[in-house]
Amino acid sequence: MTEHHHHPHDEQCIELFSRLSEFIDGELDQPLRFLVEQHLAECKACRVCLTTLERTIDLCRHSGQAPLPEALSQRLNRMIADLQKDPKSS
């Protein structure tokens, strides 16, 4: 198969570029998904674009969580105690 190199002026590349996230998220209908897959098989630039976008999403999904600060935990406990004492809040 011949690789084509018309990016960034190729209309098909631009159309694909606007739908890449939906492609990654499995939100395209089957005919459109098939077109995207076909295009990706032929266009290296779009494959690289897809890979970098997928990696960006992966990094977000695997980013760590900060622990809960002790001061916040105590603040929430005080807030709950106050709320539960307050007859207006029942």
Binding site: H5, H7, P8, I14, F17, S18, L20, S21, E22, D25, E27, K44, A45, R47, V48, C49, T51, T52, L53, E54, R55, T56, I57, D58, L59, C60, R61, H62, S63, G64, Q65, A66, P67, L68, P69, A71, L72, S73, R75, L76, N77, M79, I80, L83, Q84, S89, S90
Partner: protein, 203 residues
Amino acid sequence: MTGPQNFQKKSDSDKELVEAIQSGERGLFPDLVQRYERALYNFGIRMCGDPTDAEDLVQDTFLNVFKYLKSFRRETKFKNWLYRIAASVCIKKRRRSKFAPERELSLDQFLPLDEADVERVTPRWADAPLEQVLNDELEQQLQNGILKLPEKYRSVLVLRDIEGFSTEETAQILNLTPSNVKVRLHRARLYLRDHLKHYFKDD
């Protein structure tokens, strides 16, 4: 096929606890707080950037939950309702701040300007195993990139790609249409990808 609403109702792991509190067992409210305090704090950090603002966001969110839980009718999962409150607290807070002014991101700004800018080789940061790439410095870069996003894009990216909500759920939380969520998410991801590309350019 199961519709999104049915799925949300079936998989609401907070249902029993919420119902118990709604029926008067207020002593169980701390259990609900404990279940989400850390997640909400991290949501606040992603959205506000500042730990003090994130702490305020957690407190204000739970205050509102306590106040309005009786009127929660379980038309959605409790978690979605909780994040809807948190997002609205956050938006109010952001309106009072000058940080990251609102602007539109257009798709065109992410297209390569000319042939020389088109990448035809996968860069190492996108190709290497994730554990070789992800470290504290990159986490900080990721956080910086997220904070530079205009708020309307940032909230969608954080809910979808960090908190793991679906397109439908994110739309419900932010009161947007699903297609609006998709458009904003794609632009936010492209923005973040460009931020990371810039960080890795000398790699």
